[in-house]
């Protein structure tokens, strides 16, 4: 996996897992071991998506009336 900020490449498990705020989403936050930036990571594709700043919502809006909750991505 390649860091979107510094370009560092390593296997995904070397990027420290922080958390996933939406259990039914495949986007988690991991930390680059090189530049220490917090990145949104697509856990299905094992790909870093972008840096996560304060106020960013890599999972999108919360579920419910302002964006009806959808099921997690079906794999089969």
């Amino acid at each position: 996996m390649k860091c979107t900020e510094c370009g560092h490449e390593a296997s995904p498990d070397k990027f420290r897992y922080l958390y996933n705020a939406r259990i039914d989403a495949s986007v988690s936050m991991r930390q680059c071991p090189n530049c220490m930036e917090v990145l949104a990571v697509d856990e299905l594709k094992r790909e870093a998506l972008k840096k996560v700043g304060l106020g960013d919502a890599p999972w999108g809006k919360s579920a419910g009336i302002e964006g009806l909750a959808e099921d997690a991505v079906q794999t089969t």
């Binding site: 995904p12 498990d13 897992y17 922080l18 958390y19 996933n20 705020a21 939406r22 259990i23 039914d24 989403a25 495949s26 988690s28 856990e43 299905l44 700043g53 304060l54 106020g55 960013d56 919502a57 999972w59 809006k61 919360s62 579920a63 419910g64 009336i65 302002e66 009806l68 909750a69 959808e70 099921d71 997690a72 991505v73 079906q74 794999t75 089969t76």
Partner: protein, 831 residues
């Protein structure tokens, strides 16, 4: 600003739902000053708040007094130390205040009384809370710690006397959240808050009891007089403590008068100070006569109880006990206007908000109670002992004051019943709409029945109930009040399913914690796993309740409470320290943190492994061992299994099964009074504190993810069928017999619930809630946009309040993980 311009400003802010700016404009200059004067006392995201510092001097003074009174019998020693401390502590009065009294030496410091052993860890680990120069402070901390290590301070005595294996596991940090000293005090309000008696009256009762006892101890010898010797000591200690409390309050009387006569130049303020002086001269010695005296009396007692010992909660029923004085002053005699009453009540809230607890305490407290000092949940509404509506003008005034001062603590919980007037419901809704996150709603008929069922309180006593901590009802009567419940019967329940999967072994703390219930890889039937779960549950609940029972049993021999005893009828009548359970009916409960992970994980395994046979147990265990890393598709299969909160019997039946097994076992567990230990699912911010301590689980979470937000709330975003489905799921639980109470967080849309239509929608929702027999619900009503903006620009949004779990906090004071967890809670559309 002229009034029309003010009104325009208020409307502008309210139109944008910027309730905090509107409140700033609306409240009086005095309330604005006092509100802004408070240095926040809670933690920020788990770290101590700067620039609050500890004052180490009380710790040194306490050591000297301990040495001075060391030869005294323990109850007298405690009373004399407190008496001397309260006589020599620094006190202060803030400019413009009318309610006085603080635990702290100054507005921006917190006293440290010193401890040894692990109690010092918190102080060492956060040197930024120590005063400069740091080197000197660290030396003081070291010397104080050495002293108490040699003397044996209370916590160490308690731990060393208990079962070693129990204590080691309890102290591991994996399964239990609280402390064996420090927890939730109950107060016998029916004894001292009804206007019938105050401290001097109680002292008279104590003196009579001593005289009667001494007549016997100086009379004919016999075994029946033997217990009286200790009782006399306890009574003497109670008397000393109450007298010390009166003297301490009168220090404020003198200070107010000194300020008025020597410092203050404004004639109106001089008059106020002289009234403060008169008030403090009177209470708590004599019963209050008016609203100011009543509030002051209450506040003095709360401060004194907390100067005696750490109290992590604040049971109170301010509208019920202060309402008669409000009515007299505002409505009948018209001594003060409504606005003047609001100033007093608003300040009363601010004084409570200012109460510290957290600074020198460990990480588990700071992370579990992010943003606040303690769970000050005040009870409003409900019924009187005769069953009639207890709401009064003070109920309304408290809510109006809360919207003006916007303190996240104290937080309110309202005892709803079918006879509550529309006027009161509207005030409640306004508080929720203004984003305070409170009042939480409690179903009074259900909870009264619950108290009668589990703890056999007679109905008249059950009707007096207040929140002992966040959720658990407790009567305020002689035999019904539980004077103290240690925080340590607080279970990290996610460990139950974890241990059921890992044969009782905890890989995070590297200990065999629970019983060996089998290698889950080899389970061929779901029932094997469920029975393993039951055994782990029984083990966990047994261990925690054993430790609390033991702590309660020995507490009066290790650290008695003569002041709390002196305001408790059971202690005054019996001559026993109030911590002794003799004569107490018992009101125990197990706080069940991280509960829903259990049924959701069990359901997922049953569906995906045993019903659909998509994976084997061995494959699941491999994925859990890897923290789901590299197993994302499989993880999503487990996430997509039926989940609690969607009115789906497949998942809901599992919840009921787990609860009913726990309820069955609760009836076997007995507290020191012989009463049961029912469970109470709720969380505070323990879901964040435990996020790295609980391993990956079959509901799809990884180690590091926040656990669910607690109680019986569905996982954030996992309630996909709307609010009625959530209520229907929760309604399948029997809220009287399946446990003590059940916390439900719900999030509502501020856009959808505007205006009269919004209020009617909410009323309809509450009717469904009541009809389905739920006992609790509490609301966040703040948009994603506001919360995301607050993350980006915290200084601009420093006053935004959110409901975390059993409490509210400023959004900017909680950690990023907690913030994201709250934002991800489903926004229910109830229209």
């Amino acid at each position: 600003m002229a009034e029309p311009a003010l009104n325009e400003k208020i409307q502008e802010f309210e139109g944008k739902q910027q309730w905090w700016w509107a409140a700033e404009v609306k409240r009086s200059k005095r309330l604005d000053y006092l509100r802004k004067a408070v240095w926040r006392k809670g933690s920020t995201g788990g770290a101590p708040i700067s620039p609050i510092k500890l004052d180490l001097e009380p710790a040194l003074r306490r050591i000297e007094l301990y040495k001075q009174f060391k030869q005294e019998p323990l109850p007298l020693r405690m009373a004399k130390i407190h008496s001397a401390m309260w006589g020599s502590d620094l006190i202060y009065i803030v400019d413009q205040s009318q309610i006085v009294g603080s635990k702290t030496p100054s507005p921006s410091t917190e006293e440290w009384y010193g401890s040894g052993g692990i109690g010092n860890a918190a102080v060492y680990n956060y040197p930024e809370i120590l005063p400069e120069p740091l080197e000197e402070s660290l030396k003081v901390v070291h010397d104080v710690g050495q002293f108490w290590d040699q003397e044996g301070e209370a916590m160490e005595k308690l731990i060393s006397g208990g079962d070693p294996e129990d204590m080691a596991k309890y102290q591991s940090g994996a399964i239990a959240w609280g402390s064996l000293i420090g927890g939730y005090s109950g107060k016998n309000y029916e004894y001292f808050m009804t206007g019938k008696r105050a401290f001097e009256d109680i002292i008279e009762e104590i003196e009579e009891n001593i005289a009667k006892a001494e007549e016997k101890t100086q009379g004919v010898s016999g075994p029946d007089i033997l217990p009286l010797y200790n009782k006399i000591l306890n009574w003497e200690a109670m008397k000393l403590s109450l007298e010390a409390g009166i003297r301490w309050a009168r220090r404020y009387a003198r200070l107010a008068r000194i300020i008025a006569e020597n410092f203050e130049t404004d004639p109106k303020r001089k008059e106020e100070l002289l009234r403060v002086s008169e008030t403090c001269e009177r209470v708590p010695a004599k019963p209050p006569r008016n609203l100011q005296e009543s509030l002051q009396y209450d506040h003095f007692i709360q401060v004194l109880a907390r100067k005696e010992q750490v109290e992590g909660a604040w049971p109170a029923r301010p509208d019920y006990y202060h309402g008669p004085y409000y009515n007299k002053d505002v409505n009948i005699e018209k001594n003060i206007t409504k606005e003047e009453a609001l100033d007093l009540i608003g300040e009363f809230l601010i004084r409570a908000y200012d109460m510290p607890v957290v600074l020198a305490m460990g990480k588990w407290v700071r992370e579990g109670l992010q943003g606040i000092a303690g769970t000050w949940v005040w009870t409003l509404g409900g019924v009187k002992q005769d069953g009639s509506d207890a709401c009064n003008d003070m109920t309304i005034a408290l809510m109006q004051a809360a919207r003006l001062v916007r303190t996240p603590n104290p937080t309110f919980a309202f005892r709803w019943h079918p006879k509550v007037k529309d006027e009161v419901m509207r005030e409640i809704f306004e508080c929720i709409r203004h984003g305070l996150g409170y009042p939480a709603m409690r179903n009074d008929p259900i909870l009264i029945a619950n108290a009668m069922h589990w703890h056999r309180h007679p109905i008249e006593e059950a009707r007096t109930w207040v929140h002992q901590a966040c959720m658990s009802p407790c009567p305020t009567t002689k035999h019904g009040t539980q004077p103290y419940r240690m925080a340590s019967a607080t279970a990290n329940c996610a460990k139950i399913i974890e241990y059921a999967l890992w044969n009782g072994y905890d890989q995070v703390v590297n200990m065999q914690m629970g019983p060996k219930t089998g290698d889950a890889r080899e389970f061929t039937e779901f029932e094997q796993l469920f029975q393993a779960w039951v055994k782990q549950m029984e083990w966990l609940f047994s261990l925690l309740t054993r430790t609390v029972n033991y702590a309660r049993y020995v507490q009066s021999d290790v650290v008695p409470r003569p002041f709390l005893s002196g305001i408790s009828q059971r202690a005054v009548d019996s001559g026993l320290d109030i911590m002794r359970p003799d004569g107490e009916r018992g009101n125990a409960w197990i706080t069940a943190f991280t509960w829903v992970e259990n049924p959701d994980s069990l359901t997922a395994i049953k569906k995906v492994v045993f019903d659909d046979k998509k994976y084997t147990m061995a494959q699941l265990m491999d994925a859990l061992e890897a923290n789901w890393d590299g197993y994302e598709e499989m993880r999503l299969d487990f996430v997509n299994a039926p989940k609690w909160g969607n009115d789906d019997d497949y998942a809901d039946d599992m919840m009921l099964r787990c609860l009913r097994e726990s309820a069955r076992f609760s009836r076997e567990l007995k507290d020191p009074s012989g009463n049961s230990w029912p469970i109470l699912p709720e969380n505070v911010s323990g879901n964040i504190h435990y996020s790295s301590i609980v391993r990956s689980l079959p509901n799809g979470r990884r180690q590091g993810d926040a656990l669910y937000d607690g109680g019986i709330s569905p996982g954030p975003g996992l309630d996909k069928k709307g609010p009625t489905a959530v209520l229907k799921s929760c309604g399948k639980i029997d809220h009287i017999v399946d446990g003590r109470a059940f916390l439900l967080n719900q999030r509502l849309s501020p856009t959808q619930l505007q205006g009269e239509k919004g209020y009617q929608l909410w009323r309809a929702y509450m009717k469904t809630w009541a009809d389905l027999g739920l006992d609790h619900v509490q609301f966040n009503m703040v948009s994603d946009e506001t919360l995301r903006a607050a993350q980006k620009d915290p200084e601009k949004y420093s006053e935004v309040i959110v409901r975390v779990a059993g409490y509210s906090a400023h959004f900017v004071d909680i950690s990023r993980k907690t913030q994201d967890n709250i934002i991800q809670r489903t926004i229910q559309g109830i229209g």
